[in-house]
C-alpha cells in the first residue's frame, strides 16, 4: 500500500428490498451510469429500474440446443447411412422419427449446457478476485443486507459528492472500495 491504490467505487448499505429499490431509482434519476446493486436474492423491480434488457441466456440455450439437435441428426445420418450403412431388421438406413429421439435428447443437453455457459459468460464468471469481496461488511450481501455500489469509473463520480448523495438517499456504512 503506497497510497496509489485506485478507487473502485463507493459502497452503501441498505436494510430492506424497498429501501434498495428506492435508492436505485434515485441513483438512476441522479444520472449515474456505472453502478450496481448487490442483494441476497433477486429483488423484483430492480431489472426495470436498472434498465436491463431481456437476458441473452435464452439465445445461448437456443443456439447450443439447436446446434446439438442438428449435429446429432447429422451424426446419425453420417454413421448409419453414409460411413457404414448396415441393414438392421429391414429398417430404413435413415429415418427421421427414430433419429429424432437421440437428437431431441441431445438438444436438451445442448440447451442446458448453453444456458449454464451463457449465464457464466454473460456474468463474467468464474472470477477469482472481486474488489467488493475484500470488504468485511460486504459478506452481509449474501445474508440480509442490500448494497449499492457507484463505480469510480462513472463520469459523475466524485468522492465527496457521491458520498453525500448516498447518505442523502439513506445509505449507511458508506465505504470506499479499492480496486
Amino acid at each position: 500500500m503506497n497510497g496509489t491504490v485506485k478507487p473502485y467505487g463507493l459502497m452503501a448499505e441498505f436494510d430492506s428490498p424497498a429501501a434498495i429499490l428506492q435508492a436505485a431509482e434515485k441513483v438512476r434519476d441522479a444520472g449515474y451510469r456505472r453502478w450496481d446493486v448487490f442483494t441476497p436474492f433477486p429483488v423484483h423491480g430492480l431489472d426495470r429500474v436498472m434498465g436491463f434488457k431481456n437476458s441473452l441466456v435464452g439465445w445461448f440455450a437456443l443456439v447450443f440446443g439447436g446446434g446439438a439437435f442438428v449435429a446429432t441428426m447429422g451424426l446419425i445420418w453420417f454413421t448409419n447411412t453414409f460411413d457404414y450403412p448396415l441393414i438392421v431388421g429391414g429398417k430404413p438406413m435413415f429415418s427421421p422419427p427414430a433419429a429424432f429421439v437421440p437428437s431431441y435428447i441431445m438438444m436438451v443437453l445442448g440447451g442446458a449446457v448453453g444456458a449454464f455457459v451463457g449465464m457464466l459468460v454473460l456474468n463474467g464468471l468464474p472470477r477469482l478476485y472481486h474488489p467488493l469481496l475484500q470488504k468485511a461488511r460486504f459478506a452481509l450481501a449474501s445474508r440480509d443486507k442490500f448494497f449499492l455500489v457507484i463505480g469510480a469509473n462513472d463520469p459523475k463520480y466524485s468522492e465527496t459528492e457521491t458520498r453525500r448523495r448516498l447518505e442523502a438517499i439513506g445509505g449507511t456504512h458508506i465505504e470506499g472500495v479499492e480496486a
Binding site: F38, F52, V57, I105, L109, A139
Partner: protein
C-alpha cells in the same frame, strides 16, 4: 408503492383464505441464513455418523467387491440367464431412474408453475435426483458384461470403423441417461452457486473459505448476475421438465419395442414416467421426513409442505392405478392368448404371484390412505407408506421384467429366475453409495436453497410491508 400497500390493507382476505407463509413464525432473512447454513457449519451430530458408517462401508467395500467379482468373472455370477436375461440389473436400473424423477419434477415443474413452497425442498430432492441417476447409470454399464467395451456405446471413431446402431432404443437410452445426469447436475449446481457464496461469506477457516469460494466462482449477488441467473434458471427448468417426460419414456421404449407379451404396449412410455414419478415421491418422503426432524427444519419444511407432497403422491398413485387397469384391460381386449397368459400369471402364476399382489396392494391400495388428513398429518405413518411405495414400485419392475420373460411363447423355453448373492450385494452397495453421497451432501452443502427461500418470503418483496414498503 403506497397504493399497493393500501390495497393490501383494504382487501385482506379472511383467515381461511389467506395463503400460509412458506416458512413458519415470520422469520427474517438473517435468521433464515443462519438456520439454513447451520447444519453444514455446525458440529457433526452422532446420528450422522451412525448412518454414514454403514453407507460408507456399502459404497467403498461391498459395492467395489461385487463389481470386481462380477467384472472379473462375468455376468454369470448374477442370476439372469436364458430365458430371463434381464434380472435385478435392469430392475434396479429402472428403479433408480424412477427414484430420480420426483426430484426433477419438484424442482423444475413446480418452479415453472410458481409453487413457491418447492423452494424449501427443491435442493434436497435435486440432490436425490443426481445421486439416483448415478446409481442408475452404473447398471447398464456393468450389465453389458465386458464393461471395458462399454465405450462402443458412444459414437467414437475407432479402428474397427464401426458405429453405434441408432435404430435401437437401447442406444437412445445411453443418450437419455447420460443427458439426465449432466443436466440434473447442471441444474443442481446452478441453484447452488448463490448458496455456496453464502457459505463462503460465512466461512471461518481458510480452507472452507477457499473451497466454497472456488465453488461459488466469484458470485457477488449483483443485480446483473441475478438477471442472467434467473433467466438461466427458467431455461434449465423448462429443459428439465422435458426430461421428466422423456427419460423414463425412453426407458419404457426399451421394453415396448420388443415383441414380447406384457412389454409390447403403446402405454409403456407413459407408464414408466408415471411409475418413475410415483416411486420418486416415495423416496422424497423417505428422505425428507427424517431430514426435517434430524436437521431441525420443522419451521422450514412445514407440515403443509409435507401435506402437499402427500397429495402429489396420492395423485401419482391414482395415475398408476389407471395405467394398471388400462394395461389389464388391453391385455384382455386384445384377445391375444400370450398377453392374457402373462397378465393372468402376474397375479395367479405359480412362482411370482406375490409380486403382482404386492404391486397392486401397495401401489394402488395402500396409497389411498393418503386421502385422509389424519394420515397425512401422521408423518411416521407417511414415512412407512413412502418405504412401502419404494418396495411396491420395485416389485412393479420385477413383475414387468421377470414376469414377461420367464414364460415366453414356447413352453420348452420356460424357466425361473432367482437373484444370487451378487445381485443382492450389488443392490445393497448402490443403496450404500446413494446414502453415503446424500449424507455428505447434507453435511457439506446447504440442504435447503437459502437464496431461493429468502426470495420467496414476503420480506423479499419490495412492495410488501415486511419488505420495507411504507404502510
Amino acid at each position: 408503492m403506497a397504493e399497493s400497500a393500501i390495497n393490501l390493507k383494504t382487501f385482506t382476505p379472511p383467515a381461511e383464505l389467506r395463503r400460509a407463509p412458506i416458512v413458519l413464525n415470520n422469520r427474517g432473512s438473517g435468521w433464515l441464513t443462519d438456520k439454513l447454513s447451520s447444519f453444514a457449519e455446525g458440529k457433526t451430530p452422532l446420528w450422522w455418523w451412525i448412518m454414514f458408517v454403514p453407507a460408507l462401508l456399502g459404497a467403498t467395500v461391498l459395492l467395489p467387491a461385487m463389481l470386481i467379482y462380477q467384472v472379473s468373472t462375468g455376468v454369470g455370477v448374477w442370476g439372469n440367464n436364458q430365458p430371463v436375461a434381464w434380472g435385478w440389473d435392469i430392475i434396479n436400473f429402472v428403479w433408480w431412474v424412477g427414484v430420480a424423477h420426483a426430484g426433477t419434477l419438484i424442482s423444475a415443474m413446480l418452479f415453472l408453475t410458481r409453487q413457491h413452497w418447492r423452494t424449501t425442498i427443491g435442493r434436497a430432492t435435486e440432490a436425490m435426483t443426481v445421486f439416483a441417476v448415478m446409481m442408475a447409470g452404473l447398471y447398464p454399464a456393468i450389465h453389458v458384461g465386458r464393461v471395458w467395451f462399454a465405450w462402443f456405446l458412444f459414437p467414437i471413431p475407432n479402428s474397427n470403423a464401426i458405429w453405434p446402431q441408432f435404430r435401437s432404443p437401447l442406444m437412445w437410452d445411453v443418450f437419455a441417461v447420460n443427458t439426465y445426469l449432466v443436466v440434473s447436475i447442471l441444474f443442481w449446481y446452478l441453484g447452488l452457486i448463490p448458496d455456496l457464496a453464502v457459505l463462503r461469506d460465512r466461512a471461518t477457516t481458510r480452507v472452507r473459505k477457499f473451497i466454497y469460494g472456488f465453488l461459488a466462482m466469484g458470485w457477488t449477488g449483483s443485480a446483473r448476475h441475478w438477471h442472467h441467473y434467473e433467466k438461466a434458471y427458467v431455461v434449465l427448468s423448462g429443459l428439465c421438465t422435458l426430461l421428466v417426460f422423456t427419460v423414463s419414456s425412453i426407458v419404457g421404449l426399451d421394453f415396448c419395442t420388443s415383441q414380447l407379451a406384457g412389454w409390447h404396449a403403446t402405454i409403456f412410455p407413459l407408464y414408466f414416467v408415471v411409475g418413475a414419478v410415483y416411486c420418486g415421491f416415495g423416496m422424497v418422503l423417505v428422505l425428507l421426513i427424517p431430514l426435517r426432524k434430524l436437521c431441525h427444519l420443522e419451521e422450514i419444511i412445514t407440515p403443509r409442505h409435507m401435506d402437499r407432497i402427500c397429495k402429489l403422491t396420492l395423485l401419482s398413485s391414482l395415475a398408476i392405478a389407471y395405467i394398471y387397469v388400462m394395461e389389464y384391460f388391453i391385455a384382455w381386449y386384445s384377445g391375444d392368448p400370450y398377453e392374457r397368459w402373462v397378465f393372468g400369471h402376474r397375479l395367479f402364476g405359480h412362482t411370482y404371484w406375490y409380486g403382482g399382489w404386492i404391486m397392486l396392494v401397495v401401489n394402488v391400495g395402500l396409497a389411498q390412505l393418503l386421502w385422509f388428513k389424519r394420515t397425512r398429518q401422521n408423518l411416521k405413518l407417511v414415512f412407512a407408506i413412502g418405504v412401502l411405495i419404494n418396495i411396491g414400485m420395485w416389485f412393479e419392475r420385477f413383475v414387468i421384467i421377470v414376469g414377461s420373460l420367464y414364460q415366453d411363447f414356447l413352453p420348452a423355453n420356460w424357466g425361473v429366475y432367482f437373484p444370487t448373492w451378487v445381485d443382492i450385494g450389488t443392490y445393497l452397495g448402490t443403496l450404500g453409495a446413494f446414502f453415503m453421497m446424500y449424507l455428505l451432501f447434507i453435511k457439506f452443502l446447504p440442504l435447503v436453497a437459502i437464496a431461493e427461500v429468502k426470495g420467496a418470503m414476503p420480506q423479499a418483496d419490495p412492495h410488501h410491508p415486511l419488505g420495507g414498503a411504507k404502510q
